[in-house]
Amino acid sequence: MILTRLRLQRFRCFRDASWEFAPGLNVIRGPNESGKSTMREAIVRLLFAEKKVDTRDSQFLACTSWDCQRQFVLEGELEAAGRRLMLTRDFESQGIELCMDGDALTDEGRVRERLSELLQPWSREVYETTACLRQQEFARLDGGERVSELLQQRLAGPGAEAGAQSVIGELDDALEDINRGVSRPAKHLGPIASTMSRIDDLEAQVAHLRPIVSAAQDAAERLEQLRDRRKDVERELEERRHLQERVQRRRELEEELADLTRRCGELEKRSRQARELQQRISRLEQRLEELPDISPERGQEARELVRDLDEAARAAETAEEEAKGLAEDAEQAEQRLVAAREHVPDESLLDRAEDLQREVAATETECGVLAEEVEAAAEQRASVERTSGRQRLRYLLAVVLVVAGAVLGALVSPWLALVALAGAGIFLWASLGGPRMSVPEARRRHEEARTRLEDLQRHLSTTREELAAALEDAGARDVDALRCHLRDARKAVEDAVEVHARVQGQAESAIDSAERHRERIEGLETQLQVALKRADAQSSEELLEQVERVANARDELESARSELKGLLGDSTLKELEDDFSALNADRMGTAEALEAPELAETDLTPEEYQALLSRIAELQEQASALDEELDEARRAAEHPEADPERLRSLEEQLVAARRRLERLEEQRDALALTRELLDRAHRETVSVAIDVLEPRTGDLLSELTCGRYGEVTFDRSTLEPAIHSSEKGGEVDIDSELSCATREQVYLAARLALTSLVWPDERPPILLDDPMVNFDATRRQEALGIIRRLAEDAQVLLFTCYDVYDHAAARVIELSLD
């Protein structure tokens, strides 16, 4: 396709301008701001207008010439596939017109369709990436990385801002977000995990609640059935209890009747007894009137009088007998007194015996003293004899020592004379230690003492014999016994005197007492006579009988009256009979009540009544058991968590959550599939493109750099270009090791290669916006050669500030600042 003519109206700096273009290389030359880039943009907008133009877009508004109120118009004449076309875009009227083969199409859709056929199905983006090199892209590029990214985006067919790789990255992020917490724990769960968690929570709640609600439902139904049964039981229980009450009523009435009957009988009996008692009292009162009028006091006096008289008679008789006996006792006491006086011993015998006894005692004391003296004399004699013997032995030793000392001192040594001196000492000691008494003197004193003792002992023996004879005469064992005997005899005499006097006094007193009793008997007999006369009695016995008869009659009367009082109480016989009549009427009424219709069929046998009670107890047990079951069922039915509405709501929320999960999983699967397909498309596209791109770019770069760099590779993933230098023997770092111009040459080679790659046949006009501005002359010539070759197959519009390309151009169009 070639552009043969272009007209711009109100487009930026061009109010109304038109140009003719030739096939092959066209050089559009002009200084800065002369409209080169504007023309390039106008061509792009003419060929690839947006489907929908945003007339408020600032870039669009900037396209209209300043001070122009109307929007711009673009017109172009084209030749494509041997046909001529006239394309007009009027942005003022938003119209489009395509004249081709005599037809004028104005429908945007059809125009777009026809253009698409002519321009191949390439988009503006692809065009701008390949066949349209904008100067500012190079100018604002600050490194290979940015160019590489741009190239990658263009190769993958992205939009103005998104590349396949970055889209894949975005998809990965989105997948990570949506899957967060699904396979690995995460602090913040993604939507799927949180929905799954919600589902788990809801399922747990539903699983917990469902059996509770179900059980409560069962319990509610059971509760209803139980209530029904409870009512049946209650109804029967009521009936049975009513029957029991009626039976009970009958029984009470029967008991009441029995009680009334009994009480009637008792009252009747009491009435009869009272009547009998009244008759008896009348009889007793009559009898009392017939007996003497002996009051109880008089009767008592009569009884006491008879008793006193008897007692007085008995006392007088007793006193007389006592006086008689006492007289005999007095006589006997006198006889015992005489006898006692005869038994008193002679007092001289006692004196003689006491004297002898004193003498014996004195002699015995003297004998004892003398015996001690004899013994002391014997001991003194023995001591004198032992002292005398030891003195003789000391003398002998003293003599021997004196002799021996004198001899030895003379013969042996003067010092041995000292022995003689010792013998003299011993002699002196023997002389000083001799007895105070001589042995014969001691023996004499001993003999004299012994003789005196023997004499005294003989005298004692004689005295004792005399004492024994005196005691024997007195008939006593010893002196003391003799003394006691005498004292006892004297006491017996005194006692006998006292007894005699006392008995004599008693006898006289008894006689006086008998005399007083006789006087009292006389008084009592006088009173008795009066009493006998009053009671019409002849004797005291008869008196007492009469008194007793009257007393008995009176007692009997009192007893009868008391009995009557006990029977009637505070009532009278008449009242008692009235009570009986009333009670009897009650009895008759109770008997009639028993015959009432409501008590019909209540005359149960004990077995029947027992069966009724058993049934009532059984029903009560059933009711009680049912009440327990009812409570249990009520508790289960009223379980605080048993909320069917909540269960329904939870189940509905669960369904909603599961639906949401399905949607999320579908969204996740869509994202995953997007990523998978995009990754695959990206790789395949890039691989194919790169396989062609690499050698073509290499050839072009080799030509541009005069063979210095000829090997270019692209990273399959990042599309990062890599330059290999044979001179270096390895890869060259584009950013640090290549100059700015060489770096631009790399990307120019890549773009031109890409252009041939994506426009293999019919190519649109190739727009080159001064790509060689930084090239040196040699490399510019090489580049120009390449462009000229390119222009052989396609129309090339080269925008530049310089005239160095004029010679190679088929047409040169000059633009000026005016």
Binding site: P121, L677, V688
Partner: protein
């Protein structure tokens, strides 16, 4: 009695779970209770003689105690009114009859003489002498298939008014149900009025001389429900049957389809849906059609943003990418084109609907991201 006024409702489905509504289901249950309360209010306001519930008062044969308490409490308002309003209850397909179960329970029996449960293995007739009316009904039996609830219903000729009650589906080629009848059976009943239930929308099944109304649920029961929320107030006597439809439901349902091709993204969808905002509305939105390549519509986000503006909102994403718009892209030989080719292959090879959705979604995400038109950002 010259005329008899009957309030006829059915398919109340008290306390029915509704997984479709998720967390809003509880609110719908409350709304259903309120609607049933309004039915009772209506009976009292209109001095109705008889309330007929033609099946499915409860949602299950073993409702929970709280649900029974509520229902019985409401019915007791009628039985304790002066004069009491008679009530006829028919076990339906959900609260079917089983001997000794719900309908025979002491609590139901304790409702009193003015509440009549049309229960039993056979069709039953209940006489309401104070209304000169005979009620004929055949309970739905638990676990029994192919029931013909109208087969045993015949009017009593000596009574001036005969009302039939049945719960089932009208025979249709596309309907298979456990309880069914057809127009001939309806006509053959010879009833003065046939109170039907089972379908949740108001339907007139009048056949021959028999006026037969299926009033639908007193309250909407989901997004798909239409023509619900009403009861029939029937006046019998003077030789004719008049039916008045009275709305008791507070909610309504609406289904909206939005073409994804008209949407530039989720924000557009939110704007479109917000046009319908109503807190008494159950809105079902289907976003369908072809979405422009790279246009991502996040229905979940839209639903979450708009949830508080509706009673319930459900948005179904039934969009497909406009693959044809990518024809040119697919042939460019670059990454986007190759990606589109691969995604299309996946879409075509999808073994099930989910795989297809995932592949289509992947295509949209990939195109959007590669074009830098939003995507995950």
């Amino acid at each position: 009695m010259s005329t008899v006024r009957i309030v006829h409702t059915a398919d109340v489905h008290l306390d029915a779970p509704n997984a479709e509504l998720g967390e809003r289901a509880a609110a719908l249950r409350r709304a259903t209770r309120e609607a049933f309360t309004r039915v009772i209010d209506l009976c009292l306001e209109r001095d109705a003689h008889l309330l007929i519930v033609a099946g499915d008062l409860f949602n299950q044969a073993r409702p929970d105690a709280a649900t029974i308490d509520f229902a019985l409490g409401q019915l007791r308002r009628l039985t304790e009114a002066s004069p009491p309003v008679a009530v006829a209850l028919l076990p339906g397909t959900h609260d079917c009859w089983r001997e000794g179960a719900l309908w025979d329970s002491p609590r139901m029996r304790a409702l009193g003489d003015s509440v009549h449960a049309l229960c039993g293995p056979e069709a039953v007739t209940i006489h309401l002498p104070q209304l000169d009316l005979a009620l004929h009904g055949c309970a739905h039996l638990c676990g029994r298939e192919r029931q013909r609830p109208l087969s045993g219903l015949r009017p009593e000729a000596d009574l001036p008014l005969n009302v039939g009650v049945a719960h089932g589906s009208m025979e249709r080629g596309d309907v298979a149900d456990s309880s069914m009848f057809d127009a001939e059976e309806i006509a053959a009943t010879g009833m003065d009025y046939l109170a039907l239930g089972h379908w949740h929308s108001w339907t007139d099944h009048t056949a021959g001389d028999v006026v037969a109304i299926n009033p639908g649920s007193p309250e909407i029961d989901g997004f798909a429900q239409r023509d619900a929320g009403a009861v029939a107030v029937v006046t019998l006597g003077e030789g004719r049957t008049r039916v008045e439809r009275v709305t008791v439901g507070a909610l309504r349902g609406e289904q909206v389809a939005i073409d994804a091709g008209e949407l530039g993204g989720t924000e557009d969808l939110v704007t479109r849906i917000r046009e319908h905002a109503n807190d008494g509305l159950l809105l079902h939105v289907t976003v369908g059609g072809l979405a422009a390549p790279g246009v991502l519509i996040d229905v979940q986000a839209a639903q979450e943003r708009l949830a508080d503006e509706f009673f319930a909102l459900r948005i179904v994403d039934d969009t497909h990418p406009a693959i044809e718009d990518l024809e040119g892209v697919a042939a460019d030989g670059l990454a986007l084109g190759r990606f589109v080719e691969l995604a299309r292959e996946r879409i075509q090879a999808a073994g099930d609907e989910r795989e297809r959705r995932v592949a289509e979604r992947a295509l949209q995400i990939g195109v959007a991201m590669l074009r830098g038109e939003g995507g995950l950002r």
